[in-house]
């Protein structure tokens, strides 16, 4: 079956512009996670959605970052007024959550964001 897909695969933008990154999770997966990997760093948790619960936004680095998940499926991560330090690979993962939060997370290939 289809895995997690993300678009675009690469995005180059100018400082100060807004960007939207999209994630299509595996069909039927109720949990969706966003991470980012900056150069030389490990993946950093940003936000997660589970079912109809309020999202856990505890990892978002600033109020310029927001995410939504429409209809319990597709998610969009929006970064407003991008800064050069936002340059990173943004990864999305989904999980069936059948065993709860320890259930396996399946990652997409990521979106490489470059802010000039």
């Amino acid at each position: 079956g289809a895995g997690v897909s993300q678009s675009p695969s690469n995005k180059v933008t100018e400082k100060g512009k807004d960007v939207e990154l999209r994630c299509d999770p595996i069909s039927g997966h109720t949990a969706l996670y966003w991470y980012r990997q900056s150069l030389g760093q490990g993946l950093e948790f940003l936000i997660y959605f589970q079912g109809n619960s309020a999202p856990d936004k505890s990892g978002l680095p600033s109020d310029r970052f927001s995410a939504e998940r429409t209809g319990g499926s597709v998610s969009t991560l929006t970064i407003q007024r991008t800064q050069q330090e936002d340059s990173a690979v943004y990864l999305c993962a989904s999980s069936p959550y059948e065993r709860g939060p320890t259930d396996t997370q399946y990652f997409g290939p990521g979106t490489r964001l470059t802010v000039l």
Binding site: G3, V4, A31, Y33, Y35, Q37, G40, Q41, G42, L43, E44, F45, Y48, Q50, D56, S58, G59, L91, A93, S95, G100, P101, T102, D103, T104, Q105, Y106, F107, G108, P109, G110
Partner: protein, 114 residues
């Protein structure tokens, strides 16, 4: 601050030998640990996990060891195969609803030579 650290950026081993990848963590609240493997242009894929109530978990050629007192875990791959060449990330999480909020290390590039 880097709560999960993989201090070896790379490791090179011969096919058939053992690969040992190491990971250290600083947050004593972590109680669930995972290893992921990543090939170029793909997302990380889950390999193996271990709960803090165990000190060892095996799955085929992969074994994860956890030393809670030292805040250290390791992944052993025996025997190593060329197809194991990839970037390996360790990850950790706290309990309860935070189990899914993974904190990752920087990764170790494993190269297995034929």
């Amino acid at each position: 601050d880097q709560q999960v650290k993989q201090n070896s950026p790379s490791l090179s081993v011969q096919e058939g030998r053992i690969s040992i990848l190491n990971c250290d963590y600083t947050n004593s609240m972590f109680d669930y640990f995972l290893w992921y493997k990543k090939y170029p242009a793909e997302g990380p894929t889950f390999l193996i996990s271990i709960s803090s109530i165990k000190d060892k978990n095996e799955d085929g050629r992969f074994t994860v060891f956890l030393n809670k007192s030292a805040k250290h875990l390791s992944l052993h791959i025996v025997p190593s195969q060329p197809g194991d060449s990839a970037v390996y990330f360790c990850a950790a999480s706290r309990g309860g609803t935070s189990y899914g909020k993974l904190t990752f290390g920087q990764g170790t590039i494993l190269t297995v030579h034929p």
